[in-house]
């Protein structure tokens, strides 16, 4: 059974989620805005096998270098556009906030519909949801839906940052709402 825990980080109050099967020491993360927040969710003997990035804004990736230092085998999963943002402090906006960060390590690129096996009988499906940003992905795992900033219940989707597209955001929102029916929503801010 999938176990999901969350913690709010220091970087613009973004949320880090830790996924486990409740049996093994294996963990996967969704977003890594703040490594300390992620660490608060993990036991000392955790084996972090991967991190799934919902999009390339700094508040969702800021802790990635600390994560890779602590767990070098951790696989980074993200969209192709996100890899460019990870590698550019200008594109991921950290430069503008006087806290520049970049990550130019390996990334396993995910496309819409890609499926990644996480645990025995538990898979993750990537769903492309551009609009807030072209790099946006949502992740469906069992009855959970991780929506990043593509959908935060009660909050208008932000499209006024570079790469934002109001029309795409609306289309993605409709797609998310269809998929979300009967699922537990886990947004990138305001934890589920």
């Amino acid at each position: 059974m999938l176990v999901v825990k969350s913690a709010v980080g220091q970087v613009m109050d973004s949320v880090v989620y830790a996924l486990s099967d409740g049996i093994s020491h294996d963990y996967y993360l969704v977003d890594i805005g703040d490594f300390d927040a992620a660490r608060s969710l993990l036991p000392e003997d955790a084996n972090v096998r991967g991190v799934f990035i919902t999009h390339g804004h700094h508040d969702h990736i800021f802790g990635i270098n600390s994560l890779k230092k602590a767990y070098p085998e951790c696989v980074v999963y993200a969209s192709e556009e996100c890899t460019r943002m990870l590698a550019s402090a200008k594109l991921n906006l950290s430069m503008y906030l006087e806290m520049p960060m970049e990550y130019a390590g390996e990334v396993t690129i995910l496309h819409d519909g890609d499926v990644v096996p996480l645990f025995e009988g538990i898979n993750l499906t990537a769903i492309a949801t551009p609009g807030h940003n072209p790099s946006c992905l949502c992740f469906e795992v069992e009855n959970y839906l991780f929506t990043g900033d593509s959908y935060i219940p009660g909050v208008k989707v932000v499209t006024n940052l570079p790469g934002g597209n109001k029309k795409q955001a609306q289309e993605s929102l409709e797609k998310i709402l269809r998929i979300a029916e009967g699922r537990k929503l886990c947004p990138g801010h305001n934890a589920c």
Binding site: M12, L93, Y96, L97, E98, V158, T159, N160, L161, P162, K166
Partner: protein
């Protein structure tokens, strides 16, 4: 660039309808002027005007005119 053009850019950043903002508009009365909009403003100043806008400077902005003055 005229003040009208600058205001139109600002309205775009804040996702407001054209004609919403006036130079004397108090920024505290605009719901859309939130943290994300301020970040977007920082990006616009850098990309469009080549000006570094700090958080401290943003804090000092009280009216639309203050932003227009910063745009130069």
């Amino acid at each position: 660039m005229t003040n009208e053009e600058k205001i139109a850019m600002l309205e775009d950043v804040l996702e407001l309808n054209g004609g919403t903002l006036k130079p004397e508009t108090d920024l505290s009365t605009i719901d859309e002027y939130d943290s994300m909009a301020k970040l977007s403003l920082i990006v616009m100043m850098d990309d469009e005007f080549g000006k570094k806008l700090t958080g401290e400077q943003i804090f000092k902005f009280k009216t639309v005119q203050d932003i227009l003055d910063f745009m130069g």
